[in-house]
């Protein structure tokens, strides 16, 4: 048996997850740095591409079932209120309305770690769920929610997290507004001593805004009961997570819930959590005995399905004249929104630089606004902006080049666990990125020194993230009688390319053409378990499981061929998708020839992700360099170029890798310059209700982007050696842009997004 059970631990988003996993112990062929691969690593076009360009790809949003009804949620118009009375009689009388649910006629279903319920009479933000109408059409449901009469007891609200921390602030919960009642504190060494040892101290404040995910496909579910079994089509990043939450909410066995998700229009973290709307739809569908579809609109997308929390960071760092960092201190406050969500952002400060004296304090504070949720490198994007800004400030104070300063404080081992890294090629990323952007000769020697109103500058920032993935992750291979191969894995493709890399890995191992392979993912009933797609863990977790399944399949084919030729296994060899006697290549049979002889039998294997090595830290690293042009007359910033140099282990698909990097960098650019959820402090309501007011980058904002990968493989992690890239792509972009803006205009921008008015204010200050 080539497998055993372990207790597996690895980072998922910002937290350590622990779970029992059956892991592979097979000694498969390791794809190390020198491995020569034919399919993996190449820019193979995505296998789901045709469906997508032809318009035939079916997303959850497109699912239509016979007799399907449509649901729409009535959301609270106030930032803080209590329901006194709901009268649904008028709405129920509207032709086409089938049922209405609220806290009055549904069971109490705990939500948000028991701090609230599916329908809670205590409403904590503008957008909280009050009632849901199900009707013949979405239009009727939308009309009907306007006819529901609700008496609200309007309560005082608080939006500013610093205000919310005060004793006399309006309380969202009896126990107070600070999540868990206290900050999250991390400490190593002696921060006071470190500050005392410093020759120079820099202290400053930085802030970042709330950012909204906005995948193009809205959050949506279609649910259908068949007796006591429920099928859920859901636009989700975690089919098994949705299955478990829906089953426990409805108090039915998990085996009675099947979650299906084929194509999906993006997620970026917002679709990691199970939506209340899915359970809401399931309750209504059970009542009316018909399938129910529920889809959010853009207003709800802005308001109610997650965001990147804001941050107010107070940083203080100390260094010696020779550039050695002696102390790093981080204090931040961030908004969880109305329900629990971690808003800390200190991980970069804890982990990027070599420093013995570190203290970080993160407050996550509950306020009357939409709940935060993991968003592409939660915490790291905000934290990297603050940290990499103050690192640049210190370098300038010491009179040292910012890159040289970073190299002096290069961490040779993980600063938090004190373990070595499986691999770290950040130095190479610094070198190659610097060379590509022209760091040594094209930066402004004097910040703001370029004459004239259009000022150019170059800046950089460092990236750290986890992204090594880990078990459990399984993949099942079925070799069919016609020689075609099915690969099944309970993972998801968010648009990231999961379908394609699974086929590539299978094709590589079995040496068969990709078009002989079907990939089946996103179905809890047919696919073996894989974790949710988040934390840049999908490829590094799933690819090795596929490889393991493939290696086992090869063994099976060898054994089958040996039986057919009535010889022993040791006489057989596998080469180029064919099997022959070692002694006589003319005996070769291809896979379909073997399968023809197997009668109706198909061959099945299940591959497992191997365990991560003990005693190592697994991280991704990188550096991004930005060149900007700032018009000091208008304050407008034009990002000319981003060079992204990263260590991400093995590249599985060059084209999809570049896609991920370009997309992450553009989101980082949006975060740096454009995107911001704006609330009205006087009414507690959301002002950025659509995608015009909430500004995302368009085609007009694209800079030149160059992606440089400095790694070849990380064979210590797995036989495949891949790390994740979705989040690393975005982490340093905003910080690099902000540092470039400083180099261009000589004035430091400490608050994101860096809008033209902030630039002009800073220049005129």
């Amino acid at each position: 048996m080539c497998a055993r059970f372990i207790k597996s631990k690895h980072f998922f988003e910002e937290g350590m997850v622990e779970s029992l996993a059956e892991v592979s112990e097979a000694n498969g062929k390791v794809w190390d740095e020198d491995a020569e691969l034919d399919v993996v690593g190449k820019g193979v076009s995505r296998i789901d591409g045709y469906d997508k360009v032809s318009g035939t790809a079916k997303y959850t949003f497109d699912i239509k079932l016979p007799n399907m009804a449509h649901a729409k949620i009535l959301r609270c118009p106030h930032p803080h209120a209590r329901i006194k009375r709901i009268d649904t009689s008028k709405a129920l009388n509207l032709k086409g309305v089938l049922a209405i649910h609220s806290h009055q006629n549904t069971p109490t279903i705990p939500w948000f770690w028991n701090m609230s319920q599916l329908y809670d009479a205590h409403l904590r933000y503008q957008g909280d769920e009050v009632a849901t109408v199900v009707a013949e059409t979405e239009r009727i449901a939308s009309e009907a929610i306007k006819l529901i009469e609700v008496d609200y007891e309007v309560l005082p609200f608080v939006l500013d997290p610093s205000e919310a921390m005060k004793d006399d602030a309006p309380k969202l919960y009896e126990q107070g507004n600070i999540l868990r009642g206290k900050p999250d504190i991390y400490e190593r060494g002696d921060i006071e001593k470190g500050m005392a040892e410093a020759d120079m101290i820099v202290e400053d404040k930085f802030s970042t805004q709330v950012e909204v995910h906005h995948p193009t496909e809205v959050h949506c579910s279609v649910v259908n009961w068949d007796g006591d079994r429920l099928t859920v089509y859901d636009s989700t990043q975690g089919i098994f997570a949705v299955r478990d939450t829906v089953a426990s909410s409805l108090k039915i066995p998990t085996s009675h819930v099947r979650v299906i998700k084929k194509y999906m229009g993006g997620g970026f973290g917002s679709k990691l959590d199970t939506g209340k709307y899915t359970v809401i739809a399931a309750l209504l569908a059970r009542e009316i005995g018909r399938p129910v579809r529920i889809a959010m609109d853009r207003k709800e997308m802005n308001q109610s399905v997650g965001n990147r929390p804001d941050s107010f960071q107070h940083l203080k760092i100390g260094a010696k004249k020779d550039g050695t960092l002696t102390a790093l201190s981080h204090y931040s406050i961030g908004s969880s929104g109305a329900y629990p969500s971690g808003a800390g952002c200190s991980w970069p400060m804890r982990s990027v630089y070599q420093c013995d004296n570190v203290k970080t304090t993160d407050f996550s504070v509950l306020i009357n606004a939409g709940q935060g949720r993991a968003f592409r490198a939660p915490g790291h994007v905000q934290g990297t902006f603050g940290m990499e800004s103050i690192i640049d400030m210190m370098a300038e104070k010491i009179g040292m080049d910012p890159l040289e300063f970073r190299l002096i404080n290069y961490a040779e081992q993980d600063q938090v666990s004190r373990q070595p890294y499986t691999s770290k090629k950040l130095r190479e990323a610094y070198e190659q990125g610097a060379k590509a952007i022209g760091w040594w000769d094209r930066r402004q020697k004097v910040p703001g020194g370029m004459p004239g109103p259009l000022k150019r500058g170059i800046g950089m920032a460092t990236q750290i993230w986890w992204g090594g993935g880990g078990p459990p992750a399984y993949a099942t291979m079925k070799l069919n009688r016609d020689g075609s191969l099915d690969v099944l894995a309970g993972t998801q493709d968010l648009g990231t390319g999961t379908y394609t890399f699974i086929a590539q890995v299978a094709a590589e191992v079995l040496e068969i053409p990709m078009d002989q392979i079907s990939v089946i993912i996103g179905d809890t009933a047919t696919c073996p378990y894989c974790a949710s797609s988040g934390g840049s863990t999908t490829a590094p977790s799933v690819a090795p499981a596929v490889k393991d399944a493939g290696e086992q399949m090869k063994e099976k084919l060898l054994s089958a061929a040996a039986a057919i030729m009535e010889t022993s296994l040791t006489n057989m060899t596998y080469w180029g998708g064919k099997i022959s006697l070692i002694s006589d290549p003319s005996t070769s049979m291809d896979i379909s020839a073997i399968m023809q002889k197997m009668n109706e039998r198909i061959l099945v294997t299940t591959g497992r992700r191997s365990a991560n090595p003990d005693g190592y830290a697994i991280n991704t690293f990188g550096a991004q360099f930005a060149e900007v042009e700032v018009d000091i007359q208008t304050g407008k910033i034009h990002v000319l170029r981003i060079v992204a140099a990263h260590d991400i282990g093995r590249v599985l698909n060059q084209q999809m890798l570049e896609n991920q990097f370009h997309g992450g960098i553009i989101q980082g650019l949006g975060f740096a310059l454009l995107e911001e959820r704006v609330m009205d402090p006087y009414t507690g309501t959301l002002l950025t209700m659509n995608m015009c007011d909430y500004k995302m980058p368009t085609m007009m904002d694209t800079p030149q982007i160059d992606v440089i990968i400095v790694s070849k493989s990380d064979p210590l992690i797995s036989d495949v050696g891949a790390k994740g890239i979705g989040e690393p792509a975005m982490i340093p972009t905003a910080a690099a842009i902000a540092n470039a803006v400083y180099n261009a205009i000589g004035v430091r921008m400490k608050s994101l997004p860096i809008t033209p008015n902030k630039v002009l204010d800073a220049l005129n200050a």
């Binding site: 318009g55 193009t216 194509y263 960098i665 995302m696 694209t702």
Partner: protein, 160 residues
Amino acid sequence: MKFSTIKFELNGKPVEIEVPPAMRLLDILRETFKLTGTKEGCGIGECGACTVLLNGQAVASCLLLAGQLEGTKITTIEGLVHDERMNLLQRNFLECGAVQCGFCTPGMLLSAYALLQKDARPTTDDIKNAIAGNLCRCTGYKQIIQAIQKSTESLSDPDQ
């Protein structure tokens, strides 16, 4: 609800429907004709996911109502399966890696198609302007621009 009879041409075929005059073209396509290649991203004209052609012009189908359709020619992604120019664009979108989640893709393709119908050799700025109303949250747009550029080059090359 009052229904009106509306006649127009959909993907090259004359059609006649009885719908409320305020029904959105987007819903007529997706619900009446089950053409789900046209996507909805916002419903209020901001994202471009619902782009279709109205008499050859790229328009947001979420902003057009049934009453405005009489006598028009509407073309969706499904109507261009056998169109050479569209096939070229589709191929180049795939080759250049202009597709990730793909939800914005049909709208992007139709905006690009409308541009190339008007002007077979657009500049990069023309391309950017033509697509600026189509939001994509996954890609960095660069590959989309490249794919469109490549389609203009191959079209103007007589050997292709």
